[in-house]
Each structure stands twice: as structure tokens, then as C-alpha cells.
Amino acid sequence: MKKLIELHHINKSFDDQVILDDFNLYINENEFITLVGPSGCGKTTLLRIIGGLESVDEGQVIFDGKDITKLEPNERTINTVFQKYALFPHLNVYENIAFGLRLKKVNEKEIEELVKWSLKLVNLNNYEDRKIDSLSGGQQQRVAIARAIVNKPKVLLLDEPLGALDLKLRQNMQYELKELQKKLHITFIFVTHDQEEALSMSDTVVVMNSGLIQQIGTPEDIYNEPKNRFVANFIGESNIIRGKYLGDKLVEFENVVFECVDTNFEKDEICDVVIRPEDFDVVSLDKAKLIGIVTDKVFKGVHYELCVDINGKEYIVHTYEEAEINSQLGLAIDPFEIHLMKVPQIEKA
């Protein structure tokens, strides 16, 4: 795969507050990459730097082999879908979409064809003459996407584009955006704070916190093998337990020895053990490796969410079967469901 965008040592501060700290990232051609992280982690700033709407304090933005760090946004072949759509209120749907083409002096006949083509892609046939304020949020979102893709950019930046939509619509749009990306063969850089959205749409997920990359990987990697506590907690729910690696794929936590699959640890090295709530198996007490008391239960639709007290620590367990509060619960974990993380040096001491 060809590298399309390279970010080298990007530094950015606002009023002495560091937003991006020596940030490096490569983005490939035709990739659907998602920047995910809590608000204030620098993901939107990063997107704006790529789009040219924000300058960098230090560092380089390389696009298709060329340094574009100093280029104005109108000089970049990158288009953005803005968080609150940012459609032109004085223009109708047609003119909104034609805006970029008119600046490029495309002839009227071609503009008409392209506008029709892009409206078809976002499923808004025959909306050309509609006024912007007569459209619903979802429709405005589609027009915003059409307005960007009609220019056939090499990269489309999407800044939390689905944030203002209701759940059902958001899920539909997630699917449609993914389809659109496959159809158009352009790179999508998608920013969201919604980890589920990040997992379900992306080829690559970049988890960010405090201006730093916490982990880059496929959605599966990020979910199954989080690198640190932040990622484990931010992406999905996790039980994180301090444990000790005993060597030979054995790990000890809660005073019980478990088989695991990780090997890149020293003997007797302290580590963090991550167990997803759905990875616990509820078993009879005599077969259980861990026994806890159910302290709370919440029905979630597909499953029950149980709070289980094991040796005074609270664990979250997802199970299909109901359990009585205050009853004893036997738990077992398959070796491949146990994920070990390195403990940061500072915490070891």
C-alpha cells in the first residue's frame, strides 16, 4: 500500500496548552482510518491540520510525496465534512454541491451531471432545488457529504459527522459511509469519540489521548489486544487486574494461576491482565477458578450485566443467563481470552 499522508513530528499548542506532542502518523491510500479518543485529545486539531484549517507550530505534513505544511486549505485536494455540516444557508442543495466545481470553472453541463451523480451516491435524488433549512439533520449531512465528494478529493476528512444524528440514522449512515468509501476508492479520515463507531467502520483505528497516539491497529487488534490501560478502558469495557507472569504461558492473579497465550514477558514480571466482561464463562462452583458474589445486575437486552465481587474487588461480567443478587457465581476464563499488558515503568516502582 502507498503512503498518501505522512505527518512528521507535529507539535501544536493553544495558549500554552499542548494539543499535539511530537505526533507521527502515516495514512495509506484507500484506507478508512479513524481517529478516536475523548474530547480534547487532539483528534479534531489533527484533522484540521491535515485540511489546512489549522497551522502547525512544528512539523511537516506530506501529501502524496509533497510537503503541504504551508499550503492554504483551498490549495489542497482534500475536502472536509464538517461536524455541524456547515452548508451554505443562502444556497440551495444544487448550488451547495456545485460550489467547489464552480470555483474550478467546470462547465455547467458537467456540473449538472456531477451534482446528480453525487446526490445519487448519498441517496438524495431530486433534492437539487430544496432549500437547506427545509432539510432534516440526516439529509443535511448527506448534502454535506455530497458537497465534499463531488470534488473527487483524494482524501475526505470527516469531523464527527454523525454526532448530531439519532442512533438508528447513525447506524445507517455508518454503513453507507463505509460503502461509499469502498465505491469511491478514496481515503477517509474519520474523527469520532464513539469507540463503537470507530470499531465498526474502520480499516485502521488510531486511539489518541492527550495529544499522543495510544495505539494504532485494526479494530480487532485494538479490541482484543489493547496496549495499555487507557486503550483497554476506552475501547469497550474491561476488567483490568494486576497480576504476575510466571513464565511458560502461566499468569497469576487473584491468587489463582491461569493459562494464557502471551509470551513476551519475563518470568515474575508484574503485568496488567485484561478480561472483557463477555469473556467470562459462568460455570458450576466446583469447576470455577474464581468465585464471587453477585452484587448487582442490569438487563441490557441481549445480555445481563452483572457486578461480581471477587476478594473485595468489583468485576463486570456479561452473561446470557440471569443470576440472583447475593448468590455465589463460579467463573472460568479460556486462555485466549486473557490478555496481558505491560505495566508502565513508573507504576512498577
Binding site: 485540511g51 452548508l87 467547489g100
Partner: protein, 272 residues
């Protein structure tokens, strides 16, 4: 809702007594001939209407339109960059200070300001110390300068209000789609600020066209506007019929313009 119910009738009574009844009286008077305030020999005819198309008055109509138009245009050309610059300031405190600087002169008496200009425009003024003699008094330029200086804030504010309300993301979207700064100004910012411009024009053009003290002082009585005509009919020749007709015409023009502005300004929050 309760508050609404108390205020609404009061407002309607206010409108009837102070606006509607006087207007109807003026409408009636515009067909009438009286001896000043003596209504005993009142007679009605259409001669007032014949009189207004008398070429004697054309100068006043033309002056009103041309000078006020010029003044509004200059106000617009000055106000737009000023308003645009103020919106660019990130510091809200600074924004307010600059805005107040433009309001501040309005707190002094308008006549006083006009007399100030009048003295400056005389052949002999304080400017003689700098070897300058403006000697503008009596010229249309003096009247236009007076109008611009008086009504400029009324152009700045509505334009500033609309410009300030434009979503910065929309401007960024324009850059993002390939527009330069100039193209963005022409294709996005300017069209979005049109309601402010319309409202600014009403608020400078109409008072300019109807002012009578300003042209009288700065033109030394040489240039008459519609306002001067009305003033002389009511205050000097006591031709209430003809004065009323001129006033009715003026109100009609204002009314039509206001309807036009309201069409353009759907939010209704631009007129100060």
C-alpha cells in the same frame, strides 16, 4: 402568556392614538385646504396632488434621493470593512470597546454635531491655523459629509450583527472547497450579510432623506430636501394640506421599504 395579554392591548392603544389616528388625520388633510390652523373655511380637492408634480419641488425630491443615496453608499463602503474588521477580533472585550467608540458620538446632541461641522466648513474656521480653508458650506458635499458622519453607526451595527452571526465553519467550508479569501468574501460572506446591508440602508437612507436640520445648516439653506419642504409647509407657510400630503407620501415610501426589508430579514432581529 399572561404578560403578553397585558402588554398587547396597551400597545394597540398606543399605536391607534399615536400612529393610526394622526396618520388618518394627515391623510384627510392631504385633500384639504385650510387657513393655517383655522379650519372654519376647510375645503377638499385634489389640487395638492397637482401641486406635488410642480417642477418647483423636483429639486427637493432629487436632492433627497441623490444626496441620501450618495450618503448611504459612502456609509456602506466605510461600514462594511469596519464591521468586517471588528468581527475578526477574537477578544470580545476589544470588540465591545470598538463598537462603543462608534456609538459614543451618538450620545451627544445631533444638532451640536452638525453645528460643529458647520463651523469647520466655513471659509474661516479653526482649520485656518493649519492654512486650511474648507469653504464647503452650502455645497452638496457638506450635506453628504454631515449625513455620513451622523448615520454611519446605523450602517455599521446591522452589518456587524449579521457578519458576527455567520458560522465560522461555513467560511472554513468555503476555503475547504477551494475558494480564496476574495472568493469567499464574494460568494459566501457578502451574500450572507445582505440582510444587514438592506437594514443598514433603510436606517441611513430614510433619515438622511427626511432630515431637515442637517441640510438647512450645512447648505446654509441652499439645498432643500423633502424634510425641508415639509418643515416649511408646517412651520413657515402653514399649508397643512400640502405638508400632510408630502408626509403621507414619505410614510408610504418608508412603509414599502420596511416591508421589503422584512421580507429579506426573516429573523427580524436586524432593525435596531
Amino acid at each position: 402568556m399572561k404578560k403578553h395579554n397585558i402588554i398587547l392591548p396597551l400597545y394597540i392603544i398606543w399605536l391607534i392614538i399615536l400612529v393610526l389616528i394622526p396618520f388618518i388625520l394627515m391623510l384627510i388633510l392631504s385633500f384639504a385646504h385650510t387657513d393655517g390652523l383655522d379650519f372654519s373655511n376647510i375645503s377638499f380637492s385634489l389640487t395638492n396632488f397637482k401641486e406635488i408634480i410642480d417642477p418647483v419641488y423636483f429639486d427637493a425630491y432629487a436632492n433627497s434621493i441623490i444626496l441620501s443615496f450618495l450618503a448611504s453608499l459612502i456609509c456602506l463602503l466605510l461600514a462594511y470593512p469596519i464591521a468586517l474588521t471588528i468581527t475578526k477580533f477574537k477578544n470580545n472585550k476589544l470588540k465591545n470597546i470598538i463598537l462603543i467608540m462608534f456609538i459614543l458620538p451618538m450620545w451627544s446632541n445631533m444638532l451640536l454635531r452638525i453645528i460643529g461641522w458647520e463651523t469647520l466648513f466655513q471659509p474661516n474656521s479653526i482649520l485656518n491655523y493649519f492654512d486650511i480653508s474648507l469653504n464647503l458650506i452650502g455645497s452638496p458635499i457638506a450635506v453628504v459629509i454631515g449625513m455620513v458622519s451622523t448615520y454611519l453607526p446605523f450602517m455599521i451595527f446591522p452589518i456587524y450583527t449579521v457578519l458576527n452571526k455567520i458560522d465560522p465553519a461555513v467560511i472554513e467550508a468555503s476555503y475547504d472547497l477551494g475558494a480564496t479569501k476574495t472568493q469567499t468574501l464574494r460568494r459566501v460572506i457578502f451574500p450572507l450579510s445582505l440582510p444587514g446591508i438592506y437594514s443598514g440602508i433603510t436606517m441611513t437612507f430614510l433619515p438622511s432623506a427626511t432630515n431637515f436640520a442637517l441640510p438647512e445648516r450645512l447648505s446654509a439653506g441652499k439645498i432643500n430636501l423633502l424634510g425641508n419642504l415639509i418643515n416649511s409647509n408646517f412651520g413657515k407657510t402653514f399649508d397643512y394640506g400640502f405638508g400632510s400630503l408630502l408626509s403621507v407620501i414619505l410614510i408610504t415610501i418608508i412603509f414599502i421599504l420596511t416591508i421589503f426589508i422584512n421580507r429579506k430579514d426573516k429573523d427580524g432581529d436586524l432593525l435596531l
